[in-house]
Point group: C2
Chain length 137, copies 2
């Protein structure tokens, strides 16, 4: 098995929040929505169904942990979870906190407008707060 | 626990392909993409993380079964999986076969244009072919 190396586009668009049992947890640098991404640390996998059954179960549990924590942290109305991979082949799972009236509500976040990066202190604070909320449970 | 009853909007937009262990399996009546929807037969659940751990695992396995079969059946380039629920609260998981160059590729299918229903014989054939491909494995 090749060593896992994060896709360069995912690396460019995010900062790392931490590492779970299977996944690298990333924060999307787009302040329009609280938006996390889980990347299973497995090389050459593009579909959830190509993971082993154990990894599929791990991914489900880690996704649910992140979704539940993010929803509670943000007081969100709804969590959107998606594995698309039409642009970046490396398997990655989006977990996004949505609110009634947020940009493009009730449409999807993908493909909508342009990303709006956080300023550096806000990005750092968001990363730290999320690490505290998710990784300390 | 209340008896499970399919959301009327999901019922109006789809036809039933069959029933898996946990989920009702639906075919979206939109011929732009081969598009299936899994609905866990649990009342009053809107988020994957609100299912029990066993149901989460069942849902993962059923989603992967459907995704793998659909990709193979369609010769798709990519499967898109998503649980959004911004419009229909009842928990439901989209599994969509995508191809390079399909309508809105590489963007998402959600919120794009208007649905294009199959004609009746094509819908019936698609439903039967998918039932054969997915439920007979």
């Amino acid at each position: 098995m090749r060593q896992f190396k994060l896709d360069p586009r995912l690396a460019a668009d995010t900062v790392t929040v931490g590492t779970l049992g299977l996944c690298r947890l990333l924060l999307m640098n787009d302040r329009r929505w609280p938006w996390l991404i889980l990347v299973p640390q497995r090389s050459d996998v593009t579909e959830v169904h190509d993971l082993t059954p154990l990894d599929q179960t791990m991914l489900t549990f880690e996704t649910c942990l992140v979704a539940k924590s993010l929803k509670s942290f943000c007081g969100a109305d709804k969590i959107n979870v998606g594995a698309l991979g039409n642009m970046v082949a490396m398997l990655h799972i989006h977990v996004i906190a949505r609110r009634t009236g947020d940009p493009n509500w009730p449409g999807p976040v993908w493909g909508f407008g342009r990303g709006e990066p956080y300023d550096d202190p806000s990005l750092e604070k968001m990363r730290n707060d999320l690490a505290q909320a998710i990784l300390s449970v």
